[in-house]
């Protein structure tokens, strides 16, 4: 099994392997097999298109957690210039699961904040697998208040399995840290644009995700609990994660239908990791459009709109 491909992508992996083989043969052979390679490449693209046009929620959840998926720092490198990381919550520690700082997008200074998962084992541990502790949320809030003072728009990027469930995190008030961010962000006097770039895991995601615009990458997810957690509580078995994913409707497409998010950002065929440059370009485009929208609204009206949007969440009968 090719580990660069997910289980449901294996037919594509097999085709790609065949193409590689032919290329190898082609390079030390007189016969022209370019035509055959071209034919197989078309076939591979068609197959990818057909598989990706009909993905299940659980498969999208796999893509959202793909080990090769671009992370926040990858986008920082590709999208922004002049990035200066700002560290620490000024009270306890610097949490490496949340990265924040000032940067420029097309020359315009902004505050950028996002969760970072880490690529190799060492980095994963350093980033705590993207699971922030209270000091991470408090750092994020400190930077948001700074942005408010210097009139910089805030861009946040969500990619976390959730807030860290640990002894120290509880001792230092994980609940309060999350609650405080929701409270403050709801009335922060500067525009906030949030993009879910990978996994949007529950309160730990929302804690940097309250704002004026909420966007999701096409194969990112956003949910109240992980599919595994939901399955083990409601189905009493974590094997039912696929069913739980479907039932919760955690995909961008479904959440857009339900009116919970503002915009879906298209991913390259096969997912963001297949073409990170194209993904970054799409993201840049969407961020610029969102900035244009919030720029066009006076701040007091923007805050009123933000409040109204938050207050309208929910379904009930009267």
């Amino acid at each position: 099994m090719n580990l660069n491909f997910l289980d449901f992508e294996q037919p594509i992996a097999e085709l790609e392997a065949k193409i590689e083989e032919l290329r190898y043969v082609g390079s030390d052979n007189e016969i022209n097999i370019g035509e055959e390679i071209q034919r197989l490449q078309n076939k591979s693209r068609d197959l990818t298109e057909s598989i990706f046009s009909n993905l299940k929620a659980a498969q999208i959840a796999q893509l959202a957690r793909h080990p090769q998926r671009p992370y926040f720092l990858d986008y920082i490198e590709q999208l922004f210039t002049d990035f200066e990381e700002l560290h620490g919550d000024r009270a306890f520690a610097d949490d490496n699961a949340i990265v924040g700082g000032v940067a420029r997008l097309d020359g315009r200074p902004l505050m950028v904040i996002g969760q970072q998962k880490g690529r190799d084992t060492k980095e994963k541990v350093r980033r705590n697998f993207g699971m922030p502790r209270p000091e991470g949320y408090r750092k994020a809030l400190r930077l948001m208040h700074m942005a408010e003072r210097f009139k910089l728009p805030v861009l946040t990027f969500i990619d976390t399995p959730g807030a860290y469930p640990g002894v120290g995190a509880e001792e230092r008030g994980q609940s309060e840290a999350i609650a405080r961010n929701l409270f403050e962000m709801s009335a922060l006097k500067t525009p906030i644009i949030t993009t879910v770039i990978g996994e949007g895991g529950s309160g730990g995601a929302l804690a940097i995700g309250v704002g004026d615009r909420l966007m999701m990458l096409q194969y990112s997810t956003y949910s109240v609990i992980s599919p595994e957690g939901c399955a083990s509580i409601l189905w009493k078995s974590s094997d039912k994660a696929a069913e739980a994913a479907e039932a919760m409707g955690l995909t961008a497409h479904r959440l857009k239908e339900l009116g919970l998010i503002d915009h879906i950002i298209s991913e390259p065929l096969g997912g963001a990791h297949r073409d990170p440059e194209m993904m970054a370009a799409n993201l840049r485009q969407a961020l610029l459009e969102s900035l244009e929208i919030v720029d066009a609204t006076p701040l007091d009206k923007l805050l009123e709109q933000r409040y109204t949007k938050l207050i309208r969440y929910g379904n009930y009968a009267e």
Partner: protein, 286 residues
């Protein structure tokens, strides 16, 4: 039948069935110390064990009845009912779970809100019904909470909320997550108006409720020995792979770590909250 009963003539033998002569619900047992308690005495003692001071879980309506003055209570947003917008189904349908919970509790959803007075001070009080799907926060809970806040703003009166909840309601998926943002946004408005909000956390206050409205009080209080936290103890144990310290995530632990202002015995709840609220609203001593 043991050897002794076998020896007895049959007319002296008593059948086991006869023993059930005590009417049900007259006596109860304290879950903490095992003391057998007389129901009427428990009522007088607000469901706190007279032997060991264990605070038993109580329903939302009972909570508000013992907290508010008897006169002039009016329920807010009682007409709101939950809907199953997602057609959510796990091993049971959400719709059926709702019906079941509604039958078991006689409530439409897990939060009850009342406008009333505390020692003649007008205020709004909200209480979670833990028996309604674990006091979970879905759209109705969020909306009722916001209406409670709006009533407070409209009449310039304080808000008190007694929470008892496992967290967000999974069956409403992302809608319930957004209730965290919604209730917090409403509290930010209340805060800006200079109106006090007192959050009283009771056993248990976890997950999305603790990580939103419950931790946002001007004063955060808790009943003794209530379980309060973000992640459940079992999840933490599985993550860190060590046994948790005694008293972890209990009220006393939170007080020690600076997360709450005070622990209040239920039998002193009215006195202490009235005292604090009178000062925060700059009224003469009661």
């Amino acid at each position: 039948m043991n050897w002794f009963t076998k020896l007895l003539p049959s007319r002296i033998r008593t059948e086991g069935g006869n023993r059930k002569s005590v009417p049900e619900g007259l006596w109860s047992k304290c879950q903490a110390c095992g003391a057998v308690l007389y129901r009427a005495e428990m009522d007088r003692n607000l469901d706190v064990c007279p032997k060991c001071d264990h605070h038993m879980r109580i329903g939302a309506r009972q909570r508000l009845e013992q907290f508010l003055d008897a006169e002039g209570r009016e329920e807010i947003a009682a007409n709101l009912k939950p809907v199953d917008a997602l057609k959510f189904r796990d091993i049971k349908k959400y719709k059926d779970r709702l019906t079941q919970a509604q039958r078991a509790t006689s409530e439409h959803d897990a939060l009850v809100v009342m406008q009333g007075t505390l020692k003649s001070m007008p205020l709004v009080a909200a209480a979670f019904e833990f028996k309604f799907m674990g006091g979970s926060m879905g759209s109705v809970v969020g909306e009722r909470f916001v209406r409670a806040v709006n009533t407070c703003i409209e009449h310039n009166m304080p808000l008190v909320c007694f929470s008892a909840s496992g967290g967000a309601r999974m069956q409403e998926a992302l809608f319930s997550l957004m209730q965290m943002a919604k209730t917090s946004a409403a509290l930010a408005r209340l805060n800006k108006k200079g109106i006090p909000f007192i959050s009283v956390m009771t056993d248990p206050t976890m997950g999305g409720v603790s990580a939103s409205l419950a931790m946002l009080g001007d004063i955060n209080a808790a009943e003794p020995n209530a379980l309060i936290g973000f992640a459940g103890p079992r999840v933490i144990e599985q993550t860190v792979r060590e046994t948790l310290p005694e008293g972890f995530q209990r009220s006393e632990f939170l007080l020690e770590h600076g997360a709450i202002d005070m622990i209040i015995d239920r039998r002193e709840m009215r006195d202490r909250l009235a005292n604090v609220l009178a000062m925060l609203t700059r009224q003469p001593s009661l």
